[in-house]
């Protein structure tokens, strides 16, 4: 409904523009289609934009804390995430916790045993309607328009932590101390380390996607195939097919943030 209306409005806008300056519009269209090939293939989606999303198939992760830890470790290495023992200072991009913590708004009165006993993975939802972006006073947190990833500019962030207040998923961490001495694993030279006093979170592996690789956590879970990742706007993509075939849930859908991470439970 939402999407249709927006597409219609966009189309109407383009049509109106075309009436005034047709050549300019053609040029623009040409330029964008050569830069982002997905645009042309994806005419049924939201005006040709990619929106990355993830499906976590929990059925394959129940009773597999080892895989969950492997995923977290892969992310830790890929993004030079420091380790702090004190929960107060922790930096978490992807982590596991109980069903009640991950889905507090879903009833937990009489859950299946498997749900009670297992832990659930949490990470940034890369919301389509992200409150963290809305509140940031410096645009240090922003949504990448071409792929929907909610990204961060660590060099612009002033560390006001307003985004942490606004994120209803606790997906953001602040560097309370200098993080570099606390990176216990090998340093990944392909990703920057951060400085004290800025916020960070999962970036959907934007840097790996740009190189044509898969998200690190998806790769780490490959042996059980628990993670699907792809373009939510493309009806032919694997994620969309998985979503079409399986009932899924999102975290706190009632808040209107439109999370891009789905769970099969």
């Amino acid at each position: 409904m939402d999407t249709k209306r927006r597409t219609f409005l966009k189309a109407a806008g383009v049509a109106a523009l075309a009436g005034i300056s047709a050549p300019a519009v053609t040029k623009l269209a040409e330029a964008s289609s050569s830069a982002v090939p997905a645009v042309a293939e994806n005419s049924a989606g939201t005006a040709g934009k990619i929106r990355y999303g993830m499906v976590i198939d929990m059925r394959k992760l129940y009773d597999r804390p080892d895989i969950q830890e492997k995923m977290a470790a892969a992310c830790r290495y890929a993004h030079n995430i420091p380790t702090f023992d004190d929960p107060k200072s922790e930096i978490k991009w992807i982590w596991s916790a109980s069903y009640e913590e991950a889905f507090p708004e879903h009833s937990s009165a009489h859950n299946a045993e498997i749900i009670e006993e297992s832990e659930f993975l949490m990470l940034c939802n890369h919301c389509d309607n992200p409150p963290c972006v809305r509140v940031c006073p410096t645009k240090a947190t922003f949504k990448m328009e071409h792929n929907g990833i909610v990204a961060m500019d660590y060099h612009r962030c002033i560390g006001c932590r307003f985004c942490m207040m606004a994120c209803p998923y606790g997906a953001r961490s602040f560097n309370w101390f200098e993080p570099r001495p606390h990176i216990t694993q090998e340093i990944n030279p392909e990703f920057p380390t951060r400085m004290r006093g800025v916020v960070e979170k999962c970036n959907f592996c934007a840097e790996r996607l740009a190189r044509g690789e898969k998200p690190a956590c998806q790769e780490a879970a490959a042996e059980v195939g628990a993670i699907y990742f792809g373009d939510l706007n493309d009806p032919e993509s694997e994620v969309r097919k998985v979503l079409a075939e399986n009932p899924t849930i999102q975290r706190k859908p009632g808040l209107g943030t439109k999370p891009s991470v789905f769970y099969i439970v």
Partner: protein
Amino acid sequence: MIEKALRGSSRYWTWLGILAIFIGIGAVCYVRQFFIGQGLTGMGRDIGWGLYISQFTFLVGVAAGGLMLVLPYYVHNYKAFGRITILGEFLAIPALIMCLLFIMVDLGQPLRAMNMILHPTPNSMLFWDMCVLLGYLFLNLICSWVILTAERKEVAPPKWIYIFVYLSIPFAVSIHTVTAMLYCGLPGRDFWLSAITAPRFLASAFAAGPIIIVLACLLMKRIANFDAGKEAINKILTIIIYAALTNAFFVCLEFFVAYYSKIPGHMHSLDYLFFGIEHNGEMYNNLVPFMWTSVFLCFGGLIVLAWLKLSKKVMTDAADWIIAAGCLAVFLSLFIDKGLGFVLGGLAITPFETVVEYYPTVNEMGVTIGIWAVGIFMVTVLYKLAVDVEHEVEE
């Protein structure tokens, strides 16, 4: 005019000296925090805002509270406030500077604070808060200075200044409204997500600001031979009583919504603040004694003040001490309610519906005390200036 601040009794200098020591302690604590990190505070991943931001929130209210003098005097021509309106403006300036200091010490990268101006982001309420706070600071600086200078020269203030005076009225309302909007527009923070947050902030501000002015007047009557006049004090007390009652009424409405709807998200924070909340077999209730102290101080103080007024004792000299006690009680109550309960009550319940308690560290309290000392220092100097000018005019 500045030279007046440099001439004073030994008592004045001793007082400033004591404050300077506290400022020094605050500075040392801040330098430690600056070089080691915000990890030195009690804040953490779950409680991302603490003492600093809650003090900021409270002090925005104190700054806005001066409106309760400006409005009657300039708009309703209420002459009894003539001598003390300047005190409202001279309270707003230090309060705003304290606000800015609390924001600065809260930032993880304070040296980048200019990014808020270099990359203005109108969809962020923090951006608007900065605009209205700086605007209100500017308005108060210019109004107080021009009006005090005119008073000293015993001429009427220039006409153009009234544009700024009238402009400062909506600005006073806006600083606290926008500060409330920092909180009340965040999805998932149920305790803050209430349309009554802004009115409630304003109500408590219109009590807390004037209380400081009453207390300062009573003090200056003793030590600086400055009498605000019984009528003025009596009138401010009326304002304080109504504002504090309105605030209490709004808080009661929050209680009704939470406990009648029985929606857990709305109840949890109030549970935590007033009764303690159990989570995974542990009891979390570190703020309960504070919140009940706040309730009793508020009603105790209000009863005393109302009794003074009803019995007409308020006009006697002997009443001064009781007025001071009543005002102090209400002030402390509002301070706990907003400067502690509001921010921490909202944060103690995490997005995972777990409960985390916050305990400020010594270093953090040192910084906080230092900033309060800066504010009190400035109030002392500015109020001395205002009183000296009054005395000069009288002579």
